[in-house]
């Protein structure tokens, strides 16, 4: 039985598509919902809470509740960008604990690849910050590149160290039949790939893909009836970091706070974690996040990720064992749902045998949403095996 927890993840499903040429966004949401409910052993009519973010079409969750024919008594459409699904995970656990719902469905889906579209915040004159950023041709990649540049300046982080993160992801992706990029790459491959925005090369950047994923969360009572594939939600934390009124500091993210909150709720420390899944929009995102979560000292991320330390079976801290956003997929340009799903696979012992972490008891799933050098919401979930 192990420790008590507020809620369990009973079902998880990742859409196999990476290029949804002839599927609508609503259809993709429904397909991942169906997959996660089947995985849980539940039906659509069991769902009484629905969670989605800005990738879902329509107003809040309303259009998707209608499209899927749900009848819910709890709805939450909090949108914090790519971290939204780890935010939802925490909110769903709270709602379940409060008795507001007992079977919570969280979906993510999108087709930015088929639609040939990347996402930046809407540009309008009601959003107060964009007039001070967009005119300078801020893109997603050069926003992240500025954080990487500052990290290099303060801590002497090298391009080769960043490259190790991509190398580790590629070692895992070779075993994932659905991954977009399955070729194992070397540090040299990464640093010799074209420079996109200094110091980030093409292979420091994640893929653009279609697809999606969903999880189903349930109360402890329902989890008991569903068997030992249910995964425990041990703790969750979320926090927002901004340009802080002009006191910009690019060396850390809100993961410092979200991680501390999540670990405290779980009663665990980084030393207890057997593997991590971290939203890897860019290599630098992972490096800074590992420091922020306490897996190494601030500034030591470069050393920590080097020499295969993130490769399952090789290093001390296996990460993104599905290949992550750097190699596997990045549905709707939002990376945290797939992070939850791979952590669930690991805790069930259902990851690919070549990347499965032996006796995986506790895993951490982390999302970052927004932009690392301006406004970012970090969310951290600590998950445990059914008997943890």
């Amino acid at each position: 039985m192990g420790r008590a927890c507020k809620a369990y993840i009973a079902g998880a499903f990742e859409h196999p598509t990476r290029h949804a040429v002839d599927q609508s966004v609503a259809q993709l949401h429904a397909e991942v919902a169906r997959g996660a409910l089947a995985d849980a052993g539940l039906s659509k009519d069991d769902v009484d809470g629905y969670f989605c973010a800005g990738d879902a079409p329509g107003l809040g969750g309303l259009s998707m509740v209608e499209y899927m024919g749900l009848d819910v008594r709890y709805v939450d459409s909090t949108d914090t960008g790519g971290s939204a699904y780890v935010v939802h995970l925490g909110h769903a656990a709270e709602a379940i604990a409060a008795g507001k719902c007992s079977v919570a469905l969280i979906t993510l889906a999108g087709r930015p690849r088929a639609a040939a579209k990347a996402t930046l915040p809407d540009y309008d004159n009601d959003t107060p910050d964009t007039a001070f950023e967009t005119p300078f041709n801020q893109m997603i990649v050069n926003n992240y590149a500025m954080a990487a540049m500052r990290h290099r300046h303060e801590f002497a982080t090298t391009a080769e160290q960043l490259a190790w993160i991509k190398v580790a992801a590629s070692h895992h992706a070779q075993h994932n039949e659905h991954a977009m990029l399955r070729k194992v790459v070397t540090v040299e491959d990464v640093v010799n790939s074209p420079m996109i925005s200094d110091p980030l090369h093409r292979l420091d950047c994640c893929v653009v893909s279609d697809g999606g994923g969903a999880i189903v969360m349930v109360s402890p009572e329902i989890a008991k009836s569903l068997g030992d594939r249910c995964v425990k939600v041990m703790g969750q934390g979320e926090a927002v970091k901004t340009t802080n009124r002009g006191q910009v500091d690019l060396t850390f993210t809100a993961g410092v706070k979200s991680g501390a909150i999540g670990f405290e709720e779980a009663g665990l420390t980084p030393a207890d974690i057997d593997m991590v899944t971290i939203y890897d929009s860019f290599t630098i995102t992972v490096l800074i996040t590992l420091e922020d979560l306490g897996f190494c000292e601030k500034g030591q991320g470069g050393r920590f990720v080097s020499d295969g330390n993130l490769i399952s079976g090789v290093g001390k801290l296996p990460f993104n064992t599905d290949g992550g956003g750097l190699c596997n997929n990045h549905p709707s340009n939002r990376g945290s749902m797939t992070k939850i799903i791979e952590a669930v696979r690991q805790l069930r012992g259902e990851a690919h045998p070549r990347v499965q972490v032996p006796d995986c008891t506790f895993a951490l799933a982390h999302g970052s949403g927004g932009l690392i050098s301006t406004r970012l919401c970090s969310a951290t979930a600590i998950l445990g095996r059914n008997d943890a």
Binding site: N125, P128, T134, P135
Partner: protein, 130 residues
Amino acid sequence: MSASYPDYPIPAPALDAQPFWDGTALGKLLLKRCTDCGEIHYYPRAICPYCFSSATEWYEATGRGTIYSFSVMRRAPVSYVIAYVRLEEGVTMMTNIIDCNFDTLAIDDSVKVVFHPIKGGFSLPLFTPA
């Protein structure tokens, strides 16, 4: 050296930030400070983000600062430098560094503001090596 410039999107300022853009059109870099708590903030707002006072006032910055971070965007029709510049007044603003050697630019370099007219009557506060 960069001989040509990228296309600049036109700012869509919120109402309480319009004086900033009126200032740049006149060659002035205006900041907001709070006369209640004394703090300077950026980007400029009607309500002080330190103490929530409405007693915020515009004043002209020196236009000098240092590069806090930057990146040369290579994958663009015309390469350009995005940067955060820390002004002498203590706040950091996003901008572009222009008329410089991209390959020797460094964090902590001293820079000064230049006003670059674009479409729509706007002038962007960009920076160049001091």
